[in-house]
């Protein structure tokens, strides 16, 4: 039967007996499939156990405690060579998430810009955007990552000749260096001020809305709110005597030390991911905006709504419905694609865990299983959010 709901409805009928032909057949079919799949699984498992015992390989997660013994070029959380394999796993996850988050942010910004360029009135701008998308979308990401790594970051000057911005920020082929903050006593006051400022901004927005409802007067709550969030903590910070020291990177020996540094592999990976994904996002943005018919803009204009508000009140709310779902799946793709870090040796989960750790420890099964579990969890989590969102934004129709 083709009408799926009805069939199951029928199955739930109280008087239904097991002799129901259709139901019976479907149960038999399902039973056979399940038996096949479990049979196959059992076959695999017994083979694996036999193979492993015969070849003296060990499964199990015991090795997670033993010391890894290799260095990792970039770690977000503290790590030394004597830390355990499990720590390596954590380092990998942290790095993967870091890459994913930055790339997603970058891809969204660039994608938005390119998407708008694609719709520009300027022919040249439009054409550049088009070829930007065509070229980057049609070459493998793996090659692009390598190209960024060698085509750009490896060509930067050596540490001694670093590009220097005000003696605080440095860029060379070892990465990007910037001052790192060291909070002093009393810095908490500034943090508290920040929290207060955020609360104030939220309150301001609420007040602005209420006032507009009551009097019709418009108040630019967002920009004022942002100003408050910046200005208030800054003022408090300065008043409390600027209790924050900066760890400025200095050239010492081979390279800059201190401060915060971003290695070139990370830069290249993030840039490649962001730019590659931005092509897809640009197209998503364009199709989203173009899905809102021109009539909507004209209607808004005929009503006297300013272009900037037309975007905000009419175009965006409608375009977002079309944009968000494919956008999220692009975000998932970024997370998955960050596994290509292996090509330039950035220590993401796949590179540091499924490659280095697997090779050093030889524990293939637990390592591959843990890696896959991580990605599955991330994707499951995102799908849950997505489904909830999709349900919320459905246009009300007849």
């Amino acid at each position: 039967m083709a009408i799926t709901e009805s069939t199951s409805m029928r199955g739930s009928k109280p008087s239904s007996s097991i002799l129901n032909n259709e139901t019976f057949r479907s149960i038999v079919f399902q039973f056979v499939t399940v038996v096949c799949i479990f049979g196959l699984g059992w076959f695999f498992v017994t083979n694996t156990i036999e193979n492993m015992s015969q070849r003296g390989m060990s499964a199990g997660f015991g090795f997670l405690d033993s010391s890894a013994g290799f260095g990792i070029s970039f770690t977000l959380i503290p790590y030394t060579e004597s830390d355990s394999y499990f720590r390596v796993f954590q380092v990998g996850i942290a790095n993967t998430l870091l890459v994913a988050v930055i790339s997603i942010f970058g891809a969204t910004v660039i994608g938005l810009i390119v998407g708008l360029m694609r719709m520009s009135k300027n022919w040249l701008v439009r054409t550049i955007a088009r070829w930007y998308i065509e070229i980057l979308r049609n070459t493998p990401l793996l090659l692009q990552i390598i190209a960024w790594y060698f085509g750009v970051f490896n060509l930067l000057p050596r540490p001694r000749d670093s590009l220097d911005w005000g003696g605080l920020f440095f860029l060379n082929n070892r990465g990007f260096y910037m001052p790192g903050p060291i909070p002093g006593d009393g810095f908490t006051v500034t943090l508290i001020a920040l929290v207060i400022a955020i609360a104030a901004a939220v309150g301001l927005r609420y007040w602005a809305r209420k006032r507009q409802e009551a009097t019709g007067k418009y108040f630019p709550a967002v920009s004022v709110g942002l100003a408050v969030i910046v200005a208030l903590p800054l003022a408090i910070f300065l008043l409390s005597g600027a209790p924050l020291a900066w760890d400025v990177p200095v050239l010492q020996g081979f390279n800059y030390r201190g401060g915060v540094s971003v290695p070139p592999a990370l830069c290249a990976l993030v840039l490649a991911l962001a730019i590659y994904t931005s092509c897809f996002i640009a197209e998503i943005v364009r199709s989203g905006v173009q899905s809102v018919s021109h009539g909507q803009t004209e209607a808004a204009r005929a009503l006297g709504v300013k272009p900037s508000w037309t975007m905000r009140l009419i175009i965006l709310p409608q375009a977002l419905r079309v944009i968000i779902p494919p956008l999220i799946s692009q975000y998932l793709n970024v997370t998955k694609n960050s596994s290509l870090a292996i090509a330039i040796g950035f220590p993401d989960l796949v590179s540091v865990w499924m490659n280095t750790s697997l090779n050093q420890s030889g524990r293939a099964i637990p390592i591959v299983a843990m890696t896959m579990a991580f990605y599955c969890l991330v994707s499951l989590f995102v799908s849950l959010i997505m489904n909830a969102y999709n349900r919320r934004i459905l246009l009300k129709e007849r």
């Binding site: 409802e213 009097t215 418009y218 009503l303 300013k306 246009l395 009300k396």
Partner: protein, 261 residues
């Protein structure tokens, strides 16, 4: 028929000679193709004008120029004595006096009917919300769909949507209303619904330009009927003169086609 004539004369006298819309030698090109040729037209306060003409004759383009949804290249479009110019801010102010109802409604599908009507009031005229809603409900009642206020446009029938579009335009309290073939997408039943709403509106003395081929409507409501062809105004006359005694061969031909249809 006689009450009709009386009423029409009454409103025509209200037309106090104040010109509201003046098109002076306006021309417009799409690329090399001249859509509008030297249009001269003056519309007085309270006048109801019906524009007709064959497809592609430039009717839509003309009324879109009045609203500056399209830009003309030569001549002037003057509304209440002020001409459109380069300054978009200024143009926006001029445009506020003009309401427009599109053939395809162009309602905002993500806003409820009420929000469709209050949105521009709140953001453009900075009306308090409660007041805006009262205005909106007033006009929704006037087009007889107050009970649909909290539905969304896609949940309404075509005729209802068209009425929302009219109410939405009216909420901005425009001095001039432009209608671009407001009934061509509707089925006969709904055409009547919408025309009735428009007739009621017409009786309130608002300046209106209506592009339509509903000749009954023109007869009943119009102060002047304008016939366009190939980007020019061929003929303009009061309805009885226009229908019963057209001056030009082109008009006669057109009328013979449209009335036999």
């Amino acid at each position: 028929m006689s009450t009709d004539t009386i009423e029409k004369t009454a409103t025509r006298s209200a037309k106090s000679g104040q010109p509201v819309i003046e098109l002076v030698g306006m021309s417009k090109w799409y690329g090399n193709f001249q859509v509008l040729k030297d249009i001269d037209l003056t519309v007085y306060e309270g006048e109801r004008i019906v524009v007709c003409g064959p497809s592609g004759s430039g009717k839509s383009t003309m009324i879109r120029c009045i609203n500056q949804l399209e830009f003309h290249q030569e001549g002037d479009v003057i509304i209440h004595g002020k001409a459109y110019g380069k300054d978009e801010k200024q143009n926006d102010l001029i445009r506020r006096d003009i309401g427009m109802v599109f053939q395809s409604f162009n309602l905002f599908p993500h806003l409820s009917v009420l929000e469709n009507c209050t949105m521009a009031q709140i953001w453009v005229k900075e009306t308090p919300k409660a007041e805006a809603e009262a205005v909106a409900m007033h006009f929704l009642e006037r087009v007889r769909i107050p009970e649909q206020a909290h539905k969304y446009p896609l949940q309404l029938s075509g005729g209802q949507q068209q009425r929302v579009a009219i109410a939405r335009a009216l909420c901005m309290n425009p001095k001039i209303m432009l209608f671009d073939e407001p009934t061509s997408a509707l089925d006969p039943e709904m055409i009547n619904e919408v025309l009735e709403a428009m007739i009621e509106l017409a009786q309130s003395g608002m300046t209106m330009i209506v592009v339509t081929h509903e000749m009954n409507f023109a007869r009943k409501v119009a102060d002047r009927v304008i016939f366009m062809d190939q980007g020019e105004i061929v003929e303009q006359a009061p309805p009885h003169a226009f229908f019963d005694n057209p001056q030009y061969d082109r008009t006669q031909l057109f009328l013979s086609q449209i009335l036999h249809h």
